[in-house]
């Protein structure tokens, strides 16, 4: 019976601090609104209305959620195995472009063939782009954090070159600033809610999220990843192929990011623009970090983030409060959680010292 209480107790205290941090961040947001001359009640009300007001805005919120959720899971998958993929943004760009071009070139082919190929190209290209830093890390011990940051810029500029001004993949259409040819309508995902960004991508996303959760929590591979990430020496000692695990976790992470890029295009943008993502991956990373890389937590938290994000945009339109409030709130949650973690560590050390003193007293008395 008591076998679960321990892990529950740990989770419970984490959840408590998380809820407190969120409440505190929202309060700080309210204070900020007050200080800058707005009515926070009005602000937050506008936020809620902007999310739950009608089916269209709610659809947009869900679309945002799936992006956050997938990027968050991409981060979780690799960091579980001890790899830090900061390069999701670049993988997203390249995967999105690959899927778009697959669609463009396969115009006229049956969607039953073309769309799966688009999936494949997005995942392969995204995965390949994550494989590079993974191999550099595993074989040469080059920090993957730094290389992925650099490779982000490389990918983004490269995509921008290909699809802008005189780039080779730029559309011939007049009247657009840039971007590729449009993906044929037949290949586009169906809209689930009219005029919203929500498409059947949410079904694919749910499938990906389920696979991530399943692999990480229910399989031998997930266990191997966890052990590798937590103590690579122990993994090696136990006979696990830790290098492979790390590389494949990174590839999986890149593949998911590539698919996110594809979903952006096939979900509603229809052509690849170099504005395909506004640092979506970084938002997802923040979600994953706040939730300690727990798959279920990421799914829930990405909904909360989406609500704040989409709500803040609506708030800006209706009440005139800058929508960037959402970023401020996110950042404050992270700071508070980090502070809480640090303070808890400090208190723990104190507790250990106290315990040691008590232990000594007991020994003395026993004598």
């Amino acid at each position: 019976m008591n076998k679960l209480t321990d892990s529950l107790r740990n989770n419970k205290s984490y959840l408590t601090s998380l809820v407190l941090s969120i409440v505190a961040a929202l309060l700080i947001g309210a204070v900020l609104m007050l200080v800058t001359g707005y009515n926070p009640v009005e602000g937050y009300a506008a936020m809620l209305k902007g999310v739950f007001g009608n089916s269209r805005v709610f659809g947009n919120t869900l679309a945002k959620m799936l992006t956050l959720c997938l990027t968050g899971l991409a981060m979780a998958v690799c960091s579980k195995a001890g790899m830090f993929n900061v390069g999701g943004e670049g993988q997203l760009f390249l995967g999105g472009l690959a899927a778009t071009m697959t669609g463009v070139y396969l115009q006229g082919v049956s969607p039953l063939i073309a769309v799966p190929l688009a999936f494949l190209s997005a995942a392969v290209v995204g995965g390949f782009y994550a494989w590079i830093p993974a191999v550099l890390k595993v074989k040469l011990n080059v920090s993957e954090v730094i290389t992925t940051i650099m490779l982000n810029s490389v990918a983004i500029y490269f995509c921008s070159y290909l699809t802008n001004s005189s780039g080779p993949l730029r559309t011939d259409d007049k009247g657009v600033l840039g971007g590729t040819e449009a993906v044929p309508d037949a290949f586009m995902f169906d809209q689930l809610i009219p005029r919203s960004n929500l498409s059947t991508a949410i079904i694919y996303s749910a499938a990906i999220a389920f696979i991530c959760w399943y692999v990480m929590k229910k399989t031998s591979v997930g266990l191997e990843m966890k052990v590798t990430g937590e103590n690579p020496r122990f993994a090696f000692f136990s006979g696990l192929k830790k290098d492979n695990i790390m590389i494949w976790a990174m590839i999986a992470s890149g593949a998911i990011c590539g698919l996110v890029g594809m979903f952006e295009v096939y979900g509603y943008q229809q052509r690849f623009l170099d504005s395909i993502s506004n640092e979506f991956y970084y938002d997802g990373m923040l979600v994953a970090m706040i939730m300690n890389y727990s798959p279920l937590g990421i799914i829930l938290m990405s909904f909360f983030f989406a609500v704040i994000d989409i709500g803040a945009g609506a708030m800006e339109l209706s009440v005139g409060i800058s929508g960037e409030l959402s970023d401020i709130i996110f950042a404050i949650i992270i700071f508070l959680m980090a502070a809480e973690g640090g303070i808890r560590k400090y208190l723990n050390e104190k507790k250990i010292q106290k315990k040691a003193r008590e232990e000594l007293e007991l020994r003395k008395e026993a004598k």
């Binding site: 076998k3 321990d6 591979v221 020496r233 090696f236």
Partner: protein, 519 residues
């Protein structure tokens, strides 16, 4: 009677679960070389870290030159004139020798600028004064370990230390460098009236260099003696202590086939220095081969090499007859080997994972526990973990507890349970009961012998001589990476074997004596 320069008064140091120092009191006199000996984990380093202000004792007082130490920090210790050369050097690798020596008390120009020239001059003057040859402008990462140690000593001298603590100073030195170090110690004691405290477990060094010697065992001070009144035998018996009486364990069966064979192995340690120097051995089914060696004589590296954790530089080894050089731990395990590592926290467990997860690792792809090698059969896994939890008598709040929150004994039981239940014909076991309570020791010992009686080939290394004697059918001694003796159980006692472990006798003298007896 010389005056006391350092005085420990009822020092106790309690770490969570471990009483590292237990009511230790003694004096160190001005101008002497004081050796502090004891097995690893006996509490020597903890005590010296207290003197140097790194640790604050849980209770008790330290007096330096009659003054009670109020604040425990290295800078306070330095201002009291205490200097320490740590086992792991405290040097900045990219700085020059001179820059390391003057660090924190740099010579300055115009108040804020670093006078680099003067730093070099200071270093040269120190070198001349103490005769510790080292080039001021060399970069520390490019000089030898022996020279780095000199830099450490010069560093303490520059800061005006008159009490110098050397923590296992000879562990990383060649015999010649050791002799040079001893000359330096004698010189600074005689000419500069310094006090030197040397932590070691090499007994002949104690005899060679010290005036007095303190022996520690399991956190307690066993005794302080004038070196001239003792010999290595007496010291060894103090270190090893009285015999812990266990019930005899019944050993049955005869040794069978050779399961582990090593042929002239050379293995390097983490620094790239050769730690195992040409070891050859055989372990047969149904026997325990014990390695008796004092910490740091190559036994760790040897076992790591045989399990695939560490590359072999030269020589060959065979697991169940198959040449296994260059194989990964996973490949070697497949040949039928399980391994209890020396450092369970660093190597043997995943702290943040649960007991269940730690028990199942290695079997997670077996059909008993996963469908298609992938889908974990949760109920079988839990049943298996609970079975082992019972069988290996683990205490605590259940199989979903994170291993990191377990006591040393329970954590070790997790490792033992996992490794033993692979049912391999070969077991390589390092320090099976370090930091483990008596009850658990007895339990683990019985498990090892049970394995032996079932026909397992066991290679065991332990710093605990009682353990080696109790469990082994044959014992080899290792000293500086070489085998210095081989004995059958009952052929030699602990006192006798300690000569071989400390390098004062080796296989050649053993043969001679054996020959003499035969005559």
């Amino acid at each position: 009677m010389q005056e006391s320069i350092v005085r420990f008064e009822n020092i106790s140091m309690q770490f969570p679960g471990v009483l590292a120092n237990d009511d230790v009191s003694f004096d160190i006199k001005k101008g002497e070389v004081f050796a502090l000996v004891g097995e690893n984990g006996a509490g020597k380093s903890t005590l010296m870290n207290i003197l140097y202000g790194i640790n604050k004792p849980t209770s008790g007082n330290v007096y330096i030159k009659g003054q009670k130490v109020e604040k425990f920090s290295p800078s306070d210790a330095i201002s009291h004139g205490v200097g320490m050369v740590h086992q792991h050097f405290m040097l900045v690798p990219s700085f020059t020798v001179a820059q390391n020596i003057v660090m924190s008390k740099e010579p300055r120009k115009y108040g804020i600028f670093y006078n680099l020239k003067e730093a070099n001059n200071i270093t040269r003057r120190l070198v001349e004064e103490y005769g510790l040859e080292v080039e001021a402008e060399d970069t520390v990462e490019e000089i030898s370990v022996g020279l780095q140690q000199r830099v450490e000593i010069l560093k303490t001298l520059y800061r005006g230390a008159d009490v110098l603590i050397l923590d296992e100073p000879t562990a990383v030195l060649t015999p010649q460098e050791t002799e040079e170090l001893f000359q330096v110690i004698r010189k600074i004691v005689e000419e500069k009236q310094m006090t030197v405290i040397i932590i070691t477990h090499k007994l002949y060094e104690v005899m060679a260099i010290s005036d007095r010697v303190g022996v520690m065992r399991q956190g307690k001070l066993v005794g302080v003696e004038e070196t001239k009144n003792v010999n290595e035998r007496i010291l060894a018996s103090m270190m090893v202590g009285r015999e812990v009486l266990f019930d005899d364990i019944e050993k049955t069966g005869e040794p069978g086939e050779v399961q582990i064979k090593a042929d002239n192995l050379y293995v390097a340690d983490n620094r790239g220095l050769m730690a195992v120097n040409g070891v050859s051995l055989e372990v047969r089914a149904g026997e325990v081969l014990g390695i008796a060696a004092i910490e740091g004589n190559g036994q760790s590296e040897l076992l790591e090499a045989l399990t695939g954790m560490r590359p072999v530089q030269r020589g060959e080894f065979y697991i169940q007859g198959e040449k296994s050089n260059g194989k990964t731990p996973g490949q070697i395990r497949e040949l039928g080997l399980a391994h209890i590592p020396e450092d369970r926290v660093a190597t043997g467990v995943s702290l943040q994972s649960t007991i269940t997860e730690n028990l199942i690792i290695g079997k997670q792809r077996q059909s008993a526990f996963s469908k298609y090698k992938l889908h974990l059969k949760q109920s079988s896994v839990v049943r298996y973990a609970e079975e082992l939890f019972e069988k290996f008598d683990m205490r605590g709040s259940g199989i979903e507890t994170a291993v990191g929150s377990l006591s040393g004994g329970n954590m070790q039981k997790v490792v033992v349970a996992r490794e033993f239940s692979f049912d391999t014909p070969i077991l390589i076991i390092a320090q099976p009961t370090r930091g483990v309570d008596i009850g658990a020791i007895e339990f683990i010992h019985k498990q090892i012998i049970k394995k032996r009686n079932e026909g397992c080939a066991v290679l065991l290394a332990s710093a605990d001589l009682d353990e080696v004697f109790r469990l082994s059918d044959r014992i080899i001694t290792l000293y500086e990476g070489k085998i210095t003796g081989e004995f059958k159980a009952g052929e030699i006692d602990k006192m006798g074997i300690s000569y071989y472990m400390t390098g004062s006798r080796d296989a050649d003298t053993q043969k001679e004596e054996g020959g003499a007896q035969n005559e």
